[in-house]
């Protein structure tokens, strides 16, 4: 068994119109920029996929990565905790124009909903958001004298994830704080494709160091020296590049 995918286009080739796609990362750290751009390439070439529901902590920064996916008009709805960034113009304009739907979720609740989705837990109770606007309409229960809000699991058709090392069985390690939502999203999607800086043979990763076991991963594609959103934005990059 070898989960290696030949290229980025193959990795994102199964994402259809209307699917829910989790995209890893927190801001730029751990964001699978190359996978996102491959998805945009497919849309530019074929007009698909569109009407995506995207789950990410943020709403993109500048005109690359997630912001570029939104700017291309591929995203119908965003589920996130913090749709602001240094340069949030893409999401802000589309949201204020009513062209994109937003489901705002507290960050810890977002993480736990994704974890629950991957763990087969349909709902859970959290103190977060009790008594606030974000708890409106949700069931509340009292446990040991304190009120908790019921939240539902979050699952996806696809997860696009960035990791550091991956072996051909899909076992993954991450680099520093680029881990963030990525391991949770691997668990919560029917199909998880991962861009890694290097694909290695089974046994090359110390079993003690595996963060995401390969059972949660369906495909790995090698992207050496992946782009960092922050560096792209400092260079005023756009995707797709605009012909001058």
């Amino acid at each position: 068994m070898d989960k290696t995918l030949p290229d980025l286009a193959t990795a994102v080739g199964g994402i259809d119109d209307g699917m829910t796609v989790m995209i890893g990362g927190f801001g730029g750290s751990g964001a699978p920029i190359e996978l996102i751009h491959a998805l945009i390439d497919r849309f530019v070439a074929t007009g698909h996929p569109r009407d995506l529901v995207v789950v990410n902590n943020n709403a993109g920064n500048g005109h690359v990565g997630l912001a570029a996916l939104i700017e291309a008009g591929m995203v119908r709805k965003l589920i996130c905790s913090f749709p602001r960034s240094a340069d949030p113009v893409v999401f802000t304009e589309m949201y204020l124009a009513g062209k994109i739907e937003l489901e705002l979720v507290p960050q810890g609740t977002l993480a736990e909903r994704i974890r629950a989705g991957g763990a087969g837990i349909p709902a859970f109770y959290t103190p977060t958001s009790f008594g606030t606007d974000l708890a409106k309409g949700k069931p509340v229960e009292v446990f040991e004298g304190r009120s908790y809000v019921q939240e539902r699991w979050l699952k996806a058709d696809y997860a696009l994830v960035k990791a550091h090392l991956g072996d051909t069985l899909g076992n993954l390690t991450y680099r520093m704080a680029a881990r963030n939502f990525n391991p949770l999203m691997c668990m919560a999607a029917a199909r998880t494709v991962v861009q890694v800086s290097k694909i290695v043979a089974p046994g090359s990763i110390d079993p003690e160091a595996v963060i995401t076991p390969g059972i949660f991963v369906q495909g790995v594609v090698e992207v050496p020296d992946p782009a960092q959103e922050e560096m792209l934005n400092r260079a005023n990059a756009r995707y797709p590049e605009v012909a001058e």
Binding site: G27, S81, R84, G108, T132, R179, P183
Partner: protein, 223 residues
């Protein structure tokens, strides 16, 4: 004489109450300054929502590693003892009662401990981040804030008028003029700037304070 404390001085005062070895989350922006003023001999361990415990200061410009950032998306560093973890573990630390202190900014704090610090109303793009999680679980939830708004209205109020971040969650307020605890649904004055009378402070405060016989002087060095 100090008319009021600067944000830096408020951060300094808040830092004096953080014990050696405490696990601390500092909110994005102004609260991040608290880390600079740990008293000598004490070392708190700072938590950031995106999955780092025990991170170090900002690196020199040009040596940033963009896989190593804090919740404010600013570059940080590692130091001996740093730990990385994923987001579900990070918020387990928050909600599970494992953090000793969370220090947050505020638009309004009410005498019943309610906090409003995430939304100024329905205009624009709403964004909550980790604010609603952070107000639950830390053993102490403290707020650092100006005592009044830019146009002079009290930020310490009877009931919040802005959308709530959390209900009954704040335990202490470090303001530009005073240190105020929240106990039993009331503001309790602990320290005030020496030149300020209790009456003057009460006039800037949106709910009646319980004032002990002799509130301590709030004395902060020039920074």
């Amino acid at each position: 004489m100090t008319a009021k404390l600067s944000p830096t001085q408020i951060a300094w005062r808040a830092a004096q109450d953080i014990a050696d070895g405490a696990y601390v989350n500092l909110g994005i922006g102004f609260p991040e300054m608290v880390a600079k003023f740990q008293p000598p001999g004490r070392q708190a361990i700072f938590h950031t929502e995106n999955g780092i415990l025990g991170f170090g200061e900002a690196p020199a410009a040009g040596s940033e590693d963009w896989d190593l950032i804090n919740a404010g998306k600013k570059a940080v560093t590692i130091k001996p003892g740093t730990a990385f973890f994923h987001h579900a573990d990070s918020f387990a630390m928050v909600r599970g009662g494992h953090l000793d202190v969370a220090i947050l900014g505020a638009y309004e704090v009410a005498e019943n401990g309610d906090l409003a610090n995430w939304s100024t109303g329905p205009k624009g793009v709403p964004a909550v981040g980790g604010a609603m999680d952070l107000v639950h679980g830390a053993k102490r939830v403290a707020v650092i804030t100006d005592h009044v708004t830019k146009d002079g209205k009290p930020k310490l109020v009877q009931r919040c008028s802005l959308p709530l971040t959390g209900v009954g969650c704040v335990t202490r307020i470090y303001s530009s003029h005073a240190v105020v605890d929240i106990e039993g649904g009331r503001f309790v004055l602990r320290e005030k700037l020496p030149h300020l009378s209790v009456d003057e402070l009460q006039a800037m405060t949106g709910a009646a304070m319980i004032v002990p016989a002799a509130p301590a002087d709030l004395i902060v060095p020039e920074l």
